[in-house]
């Protein structure tokens, strides 16, 4: 569904992406992990059209996304830190995105209800806590039933209850057969959600494997431990 082909990207002298090749198909929920500055965010931004690669192509459903914007109808994106114009209210933000998207199907307002945003619809974004802002971002990402979900540190800043609600929602969408890309530092959180891991380092993809294979290779039953084991063995070599 999504294919990165020989993507290179540098910011000045820093090489952020180095000949990245990657295929992601629907039905998989992938965790994009790696140390800080490994190129995760750049990769995601490339997919969203926020960063234009120096070379290579990104294909969405077989079509290059270069100079296209309509493909983003199929993507829901939840940024790591959402910041919105100070004086807009939650209601207005949601209305605005709806007006931009003009969905044909009825919107999915499950998160809106579960997060109880309705009671806060008139609150200005300036007055919201970080957690509430994340709730708004999450709500927007899932609202239009997109085929692809890109979630950048989705649970960071959310209280345990909201975090749980969001996880439930992710699992629900996963079961609906969507392609979900999650970046996270909290490997322990990923266990129930993902079925594949993409590990990046220094702008390169070190490996992309299914979770079951990783677990059986390492003999660990938790993702965090499995990854730690892989990293250690890599360091010894």
């Amino acid at each position: 569904m999504i294919a990165f082909k020989n993507i290179n990207k540098s910011f000045g002298r820093l090489k952020a992406l180095h000949d990245v090749n990657l295929d992601c198909n629907s039905g998989s929920t992938l965790a994009l992990i790696g140390p800080n500055g490994c190129g995760k965010t750049t990769l995601i931004k490339g997919l969203l059209g926020m960063v234009v690669p120096d070379s290579g192509q990104i294909l969405f459903n077989g079509k290059s996304i270069y100079n296209d914007h309509l493909y983003r109808n199929c993507i829901g994106y939840m940024p790591q830190i959402g910041r919105y114009p100070d004086n807009m209210t939650i209601g207005q933000i949601i209305d605005m995105i709806q007006e931009i998207r003009q969905p044909e199907k009825p919107v999915d307002d499950q998160l809106y209800r579960l997060f109880d945003l309705k009671n806060m619809a008139d609150k200005k974004m300036r007055t919201l806590s970080g957690g509430t802002t994340q709730k708004v971002s999450a709500t927007l990402a899932f609202m239009f039933n997109p085929d692809v979900l890109i979630l950048d540190e989705p649970t960071a800043g959310l209280d345990p209850l909201a975090s749980e609600i969001l996880k439930e929602k992710i699992i629900q969408e996963k079961e609906a057969g969507k392609l979900i890309l999650i970046t996270s530092h909290l490997l322990s959180e990923l266990d129930e959600m993902v079925n594949g891991i993409i590990f990046m380092q220094d702008g390169k993809i070190v490996f992309k494997k299914e979770v079951d294979i990783i677990k059986s290779e390492t003999g660990e039953d938790r993702i965090s431990k499995a990854i730690a084991k892989i990293l250690k063995s890599a360091a010894h070599v």
Binding site: M50, P85, Q92, R101
Partner: protein, 255 residues
Amino acid sequence: MYRIMKYVMLDILKNKILLFYTLLLAILSWSVFSLEDNATKGLLTLLNMVLLTVPLIAVIFSAIYVYNCGEFIELLVSQPIKRTKIYISIFTGLSISLLLAFMVGAGIPILIFAFNVSGLHLIIAGIFSTMVFTALAFLSASLTRDKAKGLGIAILIWLFFALLFDGIILFLVFQFAEYPIEKMMIGISVLSPIDLSRILVLLELDVSAMMGYTGAIFKEFFGTFTGRLFTILLLILWTIIPFLIAMFRFRKKDL
């Protein structure tokens, strides 16, 4: 496009600084007109305001807004909408809000106390001061990611056109006093949007004839209908070109 613009405006119109700006303009204009028994003199006092305050507020407010919008713009870019549309929407939303502030604060008193051709020209000058410096703010914001630097550039642009540019002209006038430099000066004054706005209003207040030979040339150039059209056209270019450069840079920019 209209959809984003609407929400941008809803956001800015609730902004306290903008409300303060409107109030400031209103207080200045009303007090100028009620203290001066002579509407023309009031207009001339307001001309200074239009040439000084309006561009300053427009350039700073817009630059800050564009920087503060960074993440919001990212969110919009992740939506199925063209980048150019996003940028144009924010620009129009921002400049319409600033124009509204100008019209409510200064435009209404001008229309009430000096409803004549000069007053209308002053309003036109104010409108363009706002638009041009909003566009220049976008330009400076597009030049650097660093908010402090971008604001610095914006203020420098304002300082240059409000003060330094005329200082340079004055210097040139004295340096080349022996030469017929009138035509050259027309060419130079076209390079400053503030000077263009000022000349637009001045010619309407009919002081050009007193400038002697100089004035005759200026009047011949700026004073006719074609000249006035040309001045306005230049001001439109002064709005469009910086904005287009900014948009071109934004289109290619990595967020």
